[in-house]
């Protein structure tokens, strides 16, 4: 009953399920890493910027040495890469969309734009709110590009033409066209703010553990996954069994609500889609998994921090908090040295924790470093996060009880330690908009002050204020750039080279570690587990107690058979008491009854309720179906009791075996009865005689 489709892991996986006839899409992300093929706003080239498009081919010819240069990047209004295989689906055939975290929401407007799209969309309230803010932010950052490149007319991306050439580096090509060269179709232009709004209007927001019923058949429930505020796993209960979808989860979180084990226990099918555990697994093979009981499952976090200049990879299992503290201390260090810090992380929970820690540590030290949060939605986001205690972890809920705000930033904003700005050129944050960095027209007129610590999107280093700031500080060896893992390895930093800033790459835990998976499975005890094939190759799960483990792979449909043999039907007690039971003569153990009622589907349960037309109940009903066989002698005997007389004649068929027997009825009127193994036929034109005979047969045979 299950059909699933997995997609890459840098952005959350995307699945399509087919469950009891309903098509369910889980998550609809955007591959924002692919953005790196575009060049950021051309600031370096200053006035020449507008002419850059024309120069590109000439320059490229000179670069036969295949060295990637910033100029290789596409200089155009960026398009966005969506999930490729999703376009193969007819949007109108999707019945339900489940969004498990804000990142998985980013691609949704592309889908809802579709005129025939009519699915129900479910997500948690916090996911909806945070996701909406992220989309709005994305759109507003994108506006800068739009203003720069001017309106684009053609519906076909002209930038792809330039990429077809021989001299284009392979990395780029791969990103654009995919390995098989068929990815081009997944590139889309960004949606507009209106699209976001109309998309969000279609969303039905739910709370954790709220049961929503789709079409009376499926009961859908969101359970906290701990990954981020509002992120969830899904539990779907249908008449044919239960299914759980476990996405990337974190067992113990310092901001969002913990992973909810109890709800996920004992489902029929569990789809595990934690791809991010693969990345983590590579680095921490030295960890041993001890026999942990679930209450005590404390994930040991891993840490992979590279300071490009000095520190080499150091593999350590440190707590997430230590990692954050480390980031803080690095920032403080560089501030001490007179450099600024740019933090491009956009994961809401982590930003909030960092903000809190950072301002705490700055307050305790003697440093006077302002913190800036530059984002079009910063104010709204930070205000929102302090009004959602229900979605946070227990420690933060305790704060509510004691009357403190859930996150510490409120106080600091009031004390003017943290400053919020919608954009880098906000009137208060002085900055000349002319893209003329060389003139360094930064003015220290109002609040802007260096060194400072800036939180700015976007993590792809292509959009938003982070670009300008990076341009500004990249030459400063005292400054620090804090990145999310995976950016610098690719094209991310290319346009900013040469770069002498210190770079701190931190990857925060973003899923269940591979070693934890067996423990998790033995705890949840699903009957069938579906895991991505890559995981199945990596880890031996066959020792598990669960009944079966199936692996699925990208773009391939996997069918999972029915688990429950027969579906349950509930019969209303009022109806059940009205039934007229018959005990079978041949088999003492059995009782049978005819059942008539209205069949309804309610709350995922099939029910029989007493219908309106309960016309002929018990007494009048006639036996319609018989089984067994009639011995002619016994039949005649009982007929005689009813004063019907006749004689028996046995007939053999051609093979000489016992065939038909015929009873000729002579009194009260003419008739005969043909009986064999297969059946009995009453032959007469006398209605009363026929019913008498029938009564006699009924007395001999079991029937209903």
């Amino acid at each position: 009953t299950c059909l699933s489709k997995g997609d890459g892991f840098h952005y959350p996986p995307c699945h399509m399920l087919n469950l009891s006839g309903f098509r369910i899409l889980i998550d609809c992300p955007l591959d924002l890493l692919a953005l790196t093929i575009f060049s950021p706003l051309p600031c370096d080239v200053g006035i020449e910027a507008y002419g850059q498009n024309d120069q590109n081919p000439i320059q490229k010819k000179q670069k036969l040495e295949r060295q990637m240069t910033p100029d290789d990047l596409v200089c155009a209004e960026p398009w966005y890469k969506t999930v490729k295989a999703l376009h193969l689906w007819e949007a109108s055939l999707i019945d339900i969309v489940l969004i498990s975290n804000p990142m998985g929401l980013l691609g949704l407007p592309f889908l809802t734009q579709h005129p025939r799209f009519c699915a129900k969309i479910y997500m948690t309230e916090a996911t909806a709110k945070i996701g909406q803010l992220m989309m709005e932010d994305l759109v507003s950052m994108h506006m800068e590009f739009k203003r720069f490149h001017g309106p684009e007319d053609s519906s076909f991306p002209c930038w792809t033409k330039n990429l077809d050439g021989e001299e284009v580096p392979g990395v780029l090509k791969n990103l654009v066209f995919g390995e098989n060269g068929d990815d081009l179709g997944s590139w889309m232009r960004l949606y507009s703010l209106d699209d976001v709004k109309s998309c969000m209007k279609k969303v039905q927001a739910v709370k954790f553990s709220e049961e929503v019923c789709y079409n009376g058949t499926l009961i859908i429930k969101a359970l906290s996954s701990g990954l981020d505020i509002g992120a969830c796993n899904w539990l779907i209960n249908g008449p044919n069994g239960s299914l759980s979808y476990v996405s990337d989860s974190i067992f113990v979180s310092h901001h969002s609500k913990f992973f909810d084990f109890h709800g996920l226990k004992g489902t029929d099918v569990m789809i595990y889609s934690g791809f991010s555990c693969l990345q983590t697994a590579e680095m921490t093979e030295n960890d041993c998994i001890s026999t942990m009981r679930y209450i005590h499952i404390r994930p040991s976090f891993y840490k992979d921090e590279r300071l490009a200049a000095s520190l080499l990879d150091n593999e350590e299992s440190l707590g997430e908090l230590e990692k954050l503290a480390f980031v803080c201390s690095c920032a403080a260090e560089s501030a001490d040295a007179g450099g600024s810090t740019l933090i491009t992380i956009t994961r809401v929970g982590i930003v909030l924790q960092l903000l809190e820690l950072m301002s705490d540590s700055i307050e305790s030290s003697s440093l006077k470093v302002p913190i800036f949060v530059i984002s079009s939605v910063a104010e709204e986001l930070l205000a929102y996060t302090n009004t959602i205690p229900e979605w946070l972890c227990e420690q933060r809920q305790e704060k509510l009880i004691s009357g403190e705000p859930s996150f510490g930033h409120l106080k600091f904003i009031k004390d003017k330690k943290i400053h919020l700005f919608p954009a880098i050129h906000s009137p208060n944050l002085i900055y000349k908009v002319k893209y003329n960095y060389y003139l360094r027209l930064w003015q220290n007129r109002t609040s802007w002050q260096e060194p400072c610590i800036v939180f700015a999107p976007h993590w792809s280093l292509r959009l938003g204020p982070s670009v300008q700031l990076l341009q500004r500080w990249r030459g400063d060896p005292r400054s620090l750039l804090v990145l999310e893992d995976g950016i610098s390895s690719g094209l991310g930093l290319l346009p900013f080279r040469p770069i002498s800033m210190k770079i701190l790459q931190c990857s925060f835990l973003s899923g269940i570690r591979l070693q934890k998976l067996p423990t998790l499975l033995s705890l949840l005890q699903p009957k069938i587990v579906l895991v991505p094939d890559v995981i199945n190759q990596r880890i031996n799960l066959s020792t598990m107690k669960t009944k079966s483990i199936l692996s699925y792979s990208e773009n391939k449909t996997l069918s999972v058979g029915r688990i429950a043999e027969n579906a349950d039907v509930e019969i209303m007690a009022e109806l059940a008491t009205k039934l007229s039971w018959k005990k079978l003569r041949q088999r003492e153990n059995f009782g049978v009854a005819r059942l008539k009622g209205d069949f309804v589907m309610e709350n995922g349960k099939q029910r029989l309720v007493s219908g309106l037309d309960q016309e002929e109940s018990s007494g009048k009903a006639r036996t319609l179906r018989h089984w067994g066989s009639v011995a002619p002698e016994t039949l005649l005997e009982s007929l005689v009791k009813m004063s019907v007389t006749g004689s028996i004649e046995h007939r053999r068929d051609e093979n000489g075996a016992e065939g038909k027997s015929i009873i000729y009825i002579t009194d009260p009127s003419g008739g005969m009865i043909e009986t064999s193994e297969m059946g009995t036929t009453i032959i007469t034109d006398d209605e009363t005689l026929a019913s008498k005979i029938f009564q006699a047969i009924d007395g001999i045979l079991d029937g209903i």
Partner: protein, 615 residues
């Protein structure tokens, strides 16, 4: 199975709400309040009815508090700490956050001002709140294997919920206090259409029907405005949470609009602190407030200041919110003592005042003097204004909710007996739902829904979900109706789960061979005129549809004719075994060899008779 509803408190009265419901053996206690008007042992619900030995942990599965008012949560520390209940206690996030404030405030008033012995200590409150498990709206919590609870938004005060509880197939809703209309800061109660066996509803205003609240809001604002404009002091005794915030929002807004500079005071830091909670719990307020909060948090009151004791005698006009409400004790009563004698001043009483309090005395009639608790008398010359809007639903709201949920039974609590009785009559006569008004200590028993579980075969389900269209030609248009009735056979084998199968499958399930019982008769028919076989069949089918009522669809083919399971074909044999009596010698007679099953017994005979007449 039955549902027993034992009312421990708030039965035919208001105060000390406490209802214990037993559903299929599970005992759930809803609310655990204290009576504000009583000083003696009657203050608390009589828990001893539940368990003589005091072993509440094994008696009660869980305890659910609907909101933080004292008459709903007041007895909680007593019950958990003194009576020793250790089971789960559920309340919504705001209730969990705000209840300790209410309890602490009340405890302080009782002990410090009235000099009573302590009923529970601060430590009691703290440790009792530690046992509380917070609930979110609509979050479905599985308390144990069978018991499931869910909270719905109730309006009334911040964090007030209605509680849905389900054990097996039996389900009830306990409303707590609720409000069916949106007010300044809270939304209206919202609940799904549920199948309920029992609805336990409050009925504070069982007979009043209120119109729009805006005129009454204006009335209140004008009364306060008139008072301060005349240099008087306005006292608004209220509890720290709930009404205080609503009225303050109203006043703050009005002050802003009218540009009034008269200070608004809150008597204790408590209310200021409470505002802080309100700011954080924005998500529990009305949609309107939620939308506004990004730009301006409506609980950031601009004109509100702290009040100091010395300000009681300070000259000049002011507005003061003082705790506790109902003027039952404490600071508000003290201020009242000082301000009541001046005719310039105003006392605005919001909400309900429990019988026995000074507030109640002021509201019932126009007393010139009032006895305070310690025997002193106070001249009342100030104006009294009763704030006529309330966060409780009115009679119409109760009726609407009842109609919406249409439960099988209703129990009314939390109201005054006469009006409850009239509401009961209304419900039984208008909605035809049995309604009960139990007094404290009484139990109401109602039957509960149960479903019998059975396994269903695929074939049965398939046939059930196939639409069964009936086409009927009424005079002008074709009418299509879908008459789906599940028709199956229930098979029970000893010590096995019941199975529902389609009738074709029965014998298979029983490992028996089918035995078909059918009827047959080779019926003579007279040939009219010179028609051939096909013509004869046509004639017959016309005849049949004319005379036999239930023969809707007649299928004809060359020499055969079929109606339901009735099959007839022209018999060419000279000596058909199914023929009786009449010889085939007559040339004008042809024979139709007929065969039909028992299911179509009447139909078969009808056709035979019709053909016989044709002879």
């Amino acid at each position: 199975m039955a549902i027993d509803c034992l009312v421990l408190g708030a039965g035919q009265e208001i105060g000390k709400s406490c209802v214990v419901v037993t559903i299929n053996g599970k005992k759930i206690m809803f609310d655990c309040g204290m009576h504000m008007g009583c000083d003696d042992h009657n203050r608390y619900p009589d828990f001893s009815i539940l368990s003589k030995s005091g072993d509440f942990d094994n008696t009660i599965s869980c305890l659910i508090i609907t909101h933080f008012h004292m008459d709903h949560v007041g007895a909680l520390p007593y019950f958990t700490e003194v009576c020793g209940y250790n089971g789960p206690v559920y309340m919504s996030y705001p209730t969990k956050a705000l209840s300790p404030l209410m309890l602490e405030d009340y405890r302080r008033i009782m002990v410090d001002r009235r000099g009573e012995e302590e009923l529970f200590t601060s430590a009691h409150i703290a440790s009792c709140m530690n046992k509380v498990i917070p609930l979110d709206l609509k979050q479905t919590i599985q308390v144990d294997e069978d018991l499931q609870i869910r909270a719905y938004y109730a309006g009334h005060v911040l964090g007030a919920v209605m509680v849905y509880a389900k054990v097996g197939d039996a389900a009830i809703v306990y409303t707590g206090d609720y409000n069916m209309t949106t007010d300044r800061h809270l939304g209206a109660a919202k609940i799904d259409r549920l199948q309920l066996d029992l609805l336990i509803s409050e009925s504070t205003y069982a007979t009043t029907t209120r119109g729009s609240k805006y005129p009454r809001e204006r009335e209140f604002l004008q009364a306060v405005h008139k008072c301060v404009a005349g240099g008087g002091k306005a006292l608004i005794p209220s509890f720290a949470l709930g009404r205080a915030q609503e009225l303050c929002m109203l006043l703050d807004d009005y002050w802003e609009r009218m540009n009034i500079k008269v200070p608004i005071y809150f008597s204790s830091g408590l209310t200021i602190q409470a505002n802080m909670y309100y700011k954080m719990l924005i998500s529990w307020t009305s949609q309107n407030v939620k939308e506004k909060h990004v730009t301006h948090n409506p609980f950031d009151f601009k004109n509100v200041k702290d009040f100091y004791r010395s300000l009681i005698h300070a000259p000049g006009p002011c507005v003061l919110f003082a705790t506790p409400g109902m003027l039952c004790a404490g600071f508000s009563l003290e201020v009242f003592k000082h301000w009541a004698p001046s005719p310039l001043n105003l006392v605005a009483l919001p909400g309900y005042s429990v019988a026995g309090t000074v507030g109640h005395k002021l509201m019932s009639g126009k007393p010139t003097t009032v006895d305070l608790y310690n025997g002193t008398k106070v001249d009342v010359r100030c104006k009294i204004h009763q704030v006529a809007f309330s966060p409780h639903t009115d009679a119409k709201g109760i009726m609407d909710l009842t109609k919406f949920l249409s439960p099988k039974n209703i129990v009314l609590v939390h109201g005054e007996k006469p009006s409850m009785m009239s509401l009961k009559d209304k419900i039984t006569s208008e909605l035809g739902i049995p309604c009960f008004v139990p007094a404290n200590g009484e139990t109401v028993s109602v039957a509960s829904t149960t479903f019998v579980k059975a396994n269903a075969s695929d074939m049965f389900l398939k046939i059930c979900s196939n639409p069964n269209f009936r086409f009927s030609n009424s005079s002008t248009q074709l009418r299509v109706t879908d008459q789906r009735t599940a028709d199956g056979v229930l098979v029970i084998e000893k010590s096995k789960k019941a199975k529902i199968v389609h009738q074709d499958e029965v014998s298979e399930v029983l490992h028996e061979k089918d035995h078909v019982v059918s009827l047959a008769y080779c019926c003579p028919v007279k040939v009219k005129g010179e028609s051939d076989d096909v013509g004869l069949i046509k004639q017959l089918s016309e005849k049949i549809s004319e005379t036999v009522s239930c023969a809707d669809e007649i299928h004809e083919s060359e020499t055969c004719l079929q109606v339901g399971s009735f099959k007839g074909s022209l018999c060419l044999k000279e000596e058909c075994v199914h023929r009786r009596g009449i010889s085939s010698s007559c040339s004008e007679v042809k024979f139709l060899c007929c065969n039909w099953s028992v299911a179509d017994l009447e139909l078969g005979w009808g056709i035979i008779n019709a053909m016989k007449q044709n002879l």
